[in-house]
Each structure stands twice: as structure tokens, then as C-alpha cells.
């Protein structure tokens, strides 16, 4: 019992450093010698690095780890792994190998660590990859994640910022896991809400990513710590604007009610501070605003699909059992970058 309380202190992607802080640090690093084979590096703020090793193969590398956001160690392992693997799927790649990243207190029961690793391994296996090693250090708090290597054809990478006016925006998972986990920490989330949030976080983005290969997808990213609006802002990259239909945003049950009780994360407020200035809300409730800023752990894919393909892509995603929704459309650049439009009261 005691260990579990120490174990969960509000982690997941809510533990991420704010995007604003990070951008300032990265901009100050000295520029490296360019390498034409580095197809995607950190300059583009993309989900993973992509390096071409031959005309038809590029390696996709990513790394992600964080503190626990749920009390059950096995579930935490699954979520952390699904979240790390997701970056490969956001690039359109196939998972090949994974390495464990572990921080664990020496005084804690090692069986807990065993459960975390077992959870992680189960997701690596589901992804069709193989666990190839790892590194662990003694630390004050528990942290776990993976460094994942995948492959992708250099011509079939999904960048995160090449959406065009006219593209339809599709989101493949429901929003609100950050809020529900925060509510759960203070015992105010219902068991049902938590159950669905966990099911969402442990689900791989593999199916969604593979379905996309059959369609014209211009941009794709996974929604994680910066929240739906933060990742959407990166996707638009100062070149386009978009209109989001608040009524079509898929939201986990209980998330809006928890937001109305102000069970909000620090990460959500950081996201609001960072991207709030780019957003215009019309007839959107406070709770829905919070859900749109909510940091997601192992969130879904946000896809910009060619207008002619979007309906079919959406249909196939839904047929595969995903709670996907067509949530908006990219438009030519306007003064406001993101319009989120809800329904006027009483209409």
C-alpha cells in the first residue's frame, strides 16, 4: 500500500517541460554541420528523428520516459511503452527494436520494477518489435520508458507540419486522460472514467498508423504532452490556420465534469500559456477549453488528410474500432491561427 502512494505522483506527459521553455533552450544550442541524410531532426519539432541509410530505408529513432500516472505498475509499463512506441507510428514507421529506460529507487520493492518491465515488454511485442536491452539508474522517483528504433521508407514519412489548406483533420483517440488521471490522484475520478482512460492510454497507435498508409496523408503527429491544441499549433507551423468543430472533439467520459471541478494539471495551464494567444474560442465551454489544452499521455494520432480521402480514411479507422472523429479543417493562413467553434447556447 505505502509503495503505491509514493509510486504515483501525477506523471505521464503532464510531467513534460513546457514547450516555451524548451524552445528557448534548443534555439541556443550551437548549429551542427548539416547532414543531408538527417531527414527529420529536432529543428522541425517532429515526433522522432529520421535518418536515411539507403534509398529505400530510413531509421526512425525516438525516446520517451516519464513518472507513473497510474498506481498499477504493470499498467504503467504498458502506458509508458505505448506512448514511446507512438512516436514511430506518428512518423509512419514500423517498430524494430526497443531499449528500456529505467529510474528506480534502491529502497523500493524490485517486484514493482519487474511488473513495469513486464507491462512494457507486452506492448513492444504487440508492436511487432523486440526488446534489445536497456539502462537503469537508482533515482529518487520511478521513471520508465523506451528508446525505440523503427524503419520507414524515406518517401513515406509522415511529417508533422506539411498540412495544406483544405486538408481534413482527424483525431484517433479521445481527449481528457490528463484531467482524469489528475482527478484520480485526488480520488475524484469515477472507476469507469479511469478504466476508459487506461484503456485509451494502453492502446497502440499501430492500427491507426498502418491504415493511414492507404491514403493521402500530408501530416501526422501524436497528441501528447502539449495537448491537442499544442500539437495542432506545431502542425500548422505558422503557415496555415484551421477551424476546429468543438462539437466533434472526442472526449473521454467524465473528463468535462472533472474539468468543471478544476481538477486540472499544471501541464494544461502551461499549454494554455504557450498556445492560448494563437487560439480564438467561440461558444466553447470552460471545460471543453481545458480538455483541448489537457496534456495527453499516449494520446491518439492527429492526421491531416487530403480532402478527397478523409471520409474513407475516417470510415476505415472506425471500422477498426477506433474512436476517430473528423474534428476540423486546415484553411489558408489568417490572423488567428486556430478557431475553435462550438454551438451557441440554445441552438
Amino acid at each position: 500500500m505505502e509503495e503505491k502512494i509514493v509510486f504515483c505522483k501525477g506523471g505521464g506527459c503532464t510531467a513534460k517541460l513546457g514547450a516555451g521553455v524548451l524552445a528557448r533552450i534548443l534555439e541556443r544550442l550551437p548549429k551542427q554541420m548539416p547532414d543531408k541524410n538527417l531527414l527529420i531532426g529536432y529543428d522541425s519539432k517532429d515526433d522522432a528523428a529520421v535518418y536515411r541509410i539507403s534509398d529505400d530505408t530510413a531509421v526512425v529513432q525516438t525516446l520517451d520516459f516519464f513518472p507513473p500516472m497510474v498506481e498499477d505498475p504493470f499498467t504503467f509499463g504498458q502506458i509508458a511503452a505505448a506512448n514511446a512506441l507512438s512516436d514511430i507510428y506518428a512518423m509512419g514507421g514500423d517498430v524494430k527494436t526497443a531499449l528500456n529506460i529505467v529510474c528506480f529507487p534502491e529502497s523500493m520493492d524490485l517486484n514493482i520494477l519487474g511488473e513495469i518491465l513486464r507491462g512494457g515488454l507486452s506492448k513492444v511485442a504487440e508492436a511487432g518489435g523486440i526488446l534489445a536491452g536497456g539502462h537503469s539508474i537508482a533515482d529518487d522517483g520511478v521513471k520508465y520508458g523506451l528508446s525505440v528504433t523503427g524503419t520507414v521508407h524515406p518517401a513515406r514519412i509522415y511529417p508533422n507540419n506539411q498540412g495544406r489548406p483544405g486538408d481534413k483533420l482527424i483525431l484517433t483517440k479521445k481527449l481528457g486522460v490528463g484531467i482524469i488521471c489528475a482527478a484520480d490522484r485526488v480520488h475524484e475520478a469515477s472507476r469507469e472514467a479511469m478504466r476508459e482512460a487506461v484503456a485509451s492510454m494502453t492502446m497502440l497507435n499501430k492500427t491507426a498508423s498502418e491504415i493511414c498508409r492507404g491514403y493521402e496523408v500530408h501530416a501526422c503527429t501524436d497528441v501528447t504532452g502539449f495537448g491537442f491544441l499544442g500539437h495542432l499549433h506545431e502542425m500548422l507551423d505558422g503557415r496555415c490556420s484551421c477551424r476546429i468543430d468543438a462539437g466533434r472533439i472526442p472526449v473521454l467520459p467524465g473528463a468535462l465534469a472533472c474539468a468543471d471541478e478544476f481538477l486540472l494539471t499544471a501541464g494544461g495551464q502551461k499549454n494554455r500559456n504557450h498556445v492560448g494567444p494563437f487560439i480564438s474560442f467561440e461558444h466553447v465551454s470552460f471545460a471543453m477549453e481545458e480538455v483541448l489544452f489537457d496534456p495527453q499521455t499516449s494520446g491518439g494520432l492527429l492526421i491531416a488528410a487530403a480532402p478527397g480521402d478523409a471520409e474513407c480514411l475516417l470510415g476505415e479507422l472506425r471500422q477498426a474500432g477506433l474512436p476517430a472523429e473528423l474534428v476540423g479543417e486546415i484553411i489558408p493562413r489568417e490572423q488567428t491561427e486556430i478557431y475553435v467553434i462550438g454551438k451557441e447556447e440554445g441552438k
Binding site: E2, I5, K9, G10, A182, A183, R185, V186, E188, E261, F262, L263, L264, T265, A266, Q269, K270, R272, N273, F286
Partner: protein, 207 residues
């Protein structure tokens, strides 16, 4: 005015504590919440804006901020107006006497220390078995150790908390004994609330 110490608490805990304190006001008044980061102040401000409370935030020193809520007469939290307080809703002693237990030491009675420890553990267990549970248990001075890690009574106290008993430990005492991080059951309170609970008790039990 109620002061809430939420230094070292991560969101959403400062907001949860602020909501409880505003409920505690039971009408007009002020609640001051101390937090250690500006983001928490911003999250508290959202609570004030949505609920229509007066609000001001200021930085007192490095990593110490003060958020001040001013609640008007009719500005109590909606869910308090609509539903009874959780403690009353779930409290099996619903029919009513306001029994408050004040625990000022980790030992019961004077005499041998070890015996005193054993007696206190037995008392808190026996409390869980009463037909009428107390509405509130206050822990202060040496009593603060009983709600913290390594206390022999944690499970009994958790059970009572689940059954609706309000468990509060003096924040000053936790600070004094360096136990702030070790609190394992119930909430943190201040002398204002302790004095209020004691003066409003119908039966005050001091083991």
C-alpha cells in the same frame, strides 16, 4: 480568513484544498492559498473566475506565492448549495451529534511511553468499531505523527476516512516535526479550523 498551505503540492491539489477551504467558510470571507509556483496561481485563478470569486495573486518570495480568494455572501460553491457536504452525506452518524476527537499526542494517558503508544493504537481501532463515528478527528502536536508514515494507526484512520470521518492534521505541527512529506491520511489544517471544530463540537473527546 482561512490560510491553506499548498506549498510543495502539485496541481490539482492546491485547487482541491482551496475548494475545501471555501466550503469551510460557509459564506462570505477570504481564503488565502500559499503555493510554490506561478502555474498553480493561474489554476487557482481559473477557479475564482469561473465561480465569480474575487481574486488576487502575488509573489511573496522565491518559490512562494499567495493567492487570495474573496467570497461574497451568496458566493458559496455551487455544489455545496445543491448537495450536502461529503462528510454529512456519507457519515454513518448522520442522525447527528457533532463528535470531534482531538488527539494531541501519539500516546494515550500519562505513564509508561510504550504502554501509551499501544493504548493510542487500541483507542483508534476501538473508535472504528463504534456505532457512532466521530465527524472529525483532529491531530496536533505529537498527535501529528499518527497520520504520517510509520504510524500504527494508518489503516484504521483510512477506514474511518472512507466512512466519511474528516481527518485533519495541524500543518504547523507537520512542518515543525518535518513530517510534511510523510502525511498518509486526511488533510492538512490550521489553528483557525482546529479552534472552530473544537468550539462547534457537541462532544469533544480527548483521549
Amino acid at each position: 480568513m482561512i490560510t491553506v498551505n499548498a506549498l510543495g503540492d502539485t496541481c490539482p491539489i492546491p485547487v482541491v484544498k482551496a475548494k475545501n477551504a471555501i466550503r469551510e467558510l460557509n459564506g462570505a470571507g477570504q481564503v488565502e492559498v500559499l503555493v510554490d509556483n506561478e502555474i498553480a496561481v493561474q489554476n487557482l485563478k481559473k477557479l475564482a473566475e469561473q465561480k465569480g470569486y474575487g481574486f488576487s495573486g502575488q509573489q511573496l518570495e522565491n518559490r512562494k506565492y499567495r493567492a487570495l480568494f474573496t467570497v461574497e455572501e451568496n458566493g458559496v460553491l455551487e455544489n455545496q448549495a445543491q448537495e450536502p457536504k461529503e462528510a454529512q452525506e456519507f457519515c454513518p452518524c448522520g442522525n447527528g451529534r457533532n463528535v470531534v476527537v482531538a488527539v494531541s499526542s501519539s500516546r494515550m494517558g500519562e505513564g509508561d511511553e510504550e504502554l501509551g503508544n499501544t493504548l493510542m493504537k487500541a483507542f483508534l481501532y476501538a473508535l472504528t468499531q463504534q456505532d457512532e463515528l466521530p465527524r472529525t478527528i483532529l491531530f496536533y502536536n505529537g498527535g501529528a505523527r499518527l497520520t504520517c508514515e510509520d504510524s500504527p494507526a494508518i489503516e484504521d484512520l483510512k477506514q474511518m476516512e472512507r466512512e466519511g470521518v474528516e481527518i485533519l492534521t495541524c500543518g504547523t505541527c507537520l512542518d515543525y516535526y518535518g513530517l510534511k512529506e510523510q502525511l498518509r491520511v486526511g488533510g492538512v489544517t490550521n489553528m483557525y479550523v482546529i479552534a472552530e471544530k473544537m468550539t462547534q463540537a457537541e462532544v469533544l473527546v480527548k483521549p
